[in-house]
Amino acid sequence: MTVATTLVALQMVSAGEIAPADRRSDYSLMSRDNQAMQDDDRANPGMLWVLEGEKLWTEKVGSSAQSCADCHGRADDTMKGVAARYPTFDPARGRLVDLEQRINLCRTDHQHAAPLAWEDHGLLGLTAYVASQSRGLPTNVTVDDSTRPHLAAGRTLFTQRQGQINLSCEQCHDDHWGERLGGNIIPQGHPNGFPIYRLEWQSLGSLQRRLRNCMTAVRAEPYPYGSSENVDLEFYLMWRARGLPIEAPAVRP
């Protein structure tokens, strides 16, 4: 290969999606202490929220006095695979919804209870509990006529430069994953571990919280919780992570 074509080849490799052979869960980039914390269900702080969710699953709420269990039975049976395929398209509402929104829609539509606020302890608990039922299952969102426009919108958000720092998600997470930013390892940025216990937060938090943090970090105005932009981005990220196993609740620095 001549020098010119070598340079062109390098250019093509560096700007674009991660090669399928290189795609892996960000668990592999964590320190061994961090991995050990995640692996032990009795040391993983995220499990405290899973326990909370397990308790709330059978709690009767709202004017309907129904619990999740009243419709969905045992979560370890009916919720298997659910987190792996969210966000999904809700035909009744004509929009994409993620897992947190789905839980709140169940609360308002079926339990006739008030929705829980984003990052509310109970909502995080329920999300962690439901997501943990899909542990080990491959990420698998559905791309069809109703979701394809959202995939495209998500990809646009992922690849566009934004903020005062003028960086796109792609530049760090596709082009420079595994390298360091200020001493921290840049992950590939897959959502397969969410909701995560982030050591920096000293708490469990949602994917939308993490996305908003990233946007603040490049000095962009983050999209509001529950916005269609966040959900489109979630959908793109879940598609980008297709096949990677769900690890919720993961532990991340």
């Binding site: 032990d40 269900d41 009795r42 040391a43 702080p45 499990m47 405290l48 929220w49 326990l51 909370e52 308790k55 050591l199 000293q202 708490s203």
Partner: protein, 106 residues
């Protein structure tokens, strides 16, 4: 009642050294943080932890604001007899939480 997880082996041999792991949900508010309007957020932490083995104290810890939220404590105990191992967490406000596990020692 905060969520708590404890790991005590269900059985052990007499004289064996066993590892006990404990994890409890708690904000561990240090008292040094300020709120959005600059107001001081008061301290509220778990300040003491004890472990008793059939009513004999085998481990004790005093905790301070430097301990991170959702404190994880693990320690070793010599298995002497079958019985109950009880963890007790004491909060700044005086509230107490206890969790117990049975151990069979052969």
């Amino acid at each position: 009642m905060a969520q708590a997880l404890i790991k005590v082996p269900a059985q052990a041999k007499r004289g064996e050294v066993i590892e006990i792991k404990t994890l409890i949900s708690h904000q561990m508010e240090t008292g040094y943080r300020r709120g959005p309007s600059g107001e001081a957020i008061p301290r509220d932490i778990i300040k003491a932890f004890t472990c008793t083995y059939n009513d004999t104290e085998v481990f004790r810890a005093e905790l301070f604001p430097a301990i991170a939220a959702n404190p994880f404590l693990s320690f070793f105990v010599v298995a002497t007899e079958s019985g109950v191992i009880t963890m007790t967490w004491l909060d700044d406000d005086g509230s107490i939480q206890k969790e117990s596990a049975q151990i069979r020692v052969d």
